[in-house]
Symmetry: C2
Subunit: 229 residues, 2 copies
């Protein structure tokens, strides 16, 4: 039942001392640089990035400085160079193999494969729970039944898994993914699952997101909460 810990533990630092907040901001900067580069710009200052990102310029410099001196005083940062460096930090330059558990999401969201590929995540194995599905592959990605997971994962050297479909024995699927060597699991299904230490997991829960959202726009604790700013 330690399961939910990782789902909610969004704020921990990893072994590298880099907080998830920093990683999220780096993603955001990367996104901003994409736009700026697309618009044909060449250099950008920390204040410009900060303004778009909605943070202070010092924080942008601090975040970047942590990984090396990418800028030049009075000039700023070279956009395409900085973009490459951030991609490097985020590991977007290496191909990462992903196992997809549940194939239906690809019908619902056909662009997923391409969106993952844009970040160098490649789905190279699909597991199905649908025993009536005898298609051998989707877009040349082989479909297997969930029984041989562990061995197939291990042979392919897959480190990432996306669980996209509810199944009663979800935990046993997870166990087999983990024993096959998977190190990070993104769970889109409503199942509550547990993983051993050393395996990262994140559970996307739509009702939960709505609850959190509703707080962003509520003010019903004006009275009850004495500490309120």
């Amino acid at each position: 039942m330690g399961s939910d810990v990782s789902d909610f533990n969004l704020f921990s630092r990893n072994e590298n001392g880099i907080s998830e907040r920093t990683i999220n901001r780096l993603r955001q900067y990367s996104c901003i640089l994409d736009t700026l580069e697309g618009a044909g710009n060449c250099n950008v200052s920390s204040s410009e990035i900060a303004k778009i990102a909605g943070v202070k310029s010092g924080l942008v410099r601090k975040d970047l400085c942590r990984f090396g001196g990418f800028g030049r005083p009075s000039v700023g940062y070279n956009i395409s160079y900085l973009r490459k460096q951030i991609h490097n930090i985020l590991g977007l330059n290496e191909e990462k193999l992903v196992a997809l558990v549940g194939e239906k999401i690809l019908q619902y969201e056909p662009s997923l494969t391409k969106r993952l590929a844009a970040n160098n995540y490649r789905i190279n194995m699909i597991f199905t729970f649908d025993s009536t599905n005898f298609e051998p592959d989707i877009n040349h990605i082989p479909i297997d039944s969930a029984s041989d997971i562990s061995k197939l994962i291990k042979n392919a050297g897959i480190k990432f898994a996306i669980i996209s479909e509810f199944t009663a024995d979800c935990q046993s699927v997870v166990d087999r993914l983990v024993s096959g060597g998977v190190k990070a699991i993104l769970n889109l299904a409503p199942n509550v699952i547990t993983v051993p230490d050393g395996v990262a997991i994140r559970h996307i829960d739509i009702p939960g997101e709505l609850i959190a959202l509703s707080f962003k726009c509520s003010n019903k604790f004006d009275i009850i909460d004495n500490d309120a700013v």
Copy 2:
């Protein structure tokens, strides 16, 4: 282009001075209490909750104490009472109306309606982009074309929206949702969208989640990062 700000700005306090971290922990406590209540327990101590949640017991007490004294010294917290109080804090006791933009997700994940209902979120309007879809409703929820959004939303008094499908003119849909009075938008589609101040938005981005996850299990910055613990 201020758009991404809210997507990444997960860590802000809301107007009530309650941080999203606190809300997330309350959700987690609620979840834990469900389990404990299901197992037939009656009282629980902050240390027991803390152990399951993976936090310190003082933090559990502090989180709860912020909203009122729900416990009794030497006894602990009455599970069903505390559960009700947390539900109350999270607003799970009031019905909240939700507009669903894009109907395909209900085929992909039929349990969504029920999972939302368990938290008192009721989808009571569906907008489709599929002009070949002439079904009048899904499970008695009317399906409308996206053209009359604003008026329909306003008349129904809907405050929440889930955007679940890519569409080229996503921003105009958002604008019409907002002008219809929607205050919180959960975006599952890859579109980048912007909302005015006072409207909360959260973008679920699968590749982004994988990037963040990959950091939880990586240690490639052992060398580069001098501040590392």
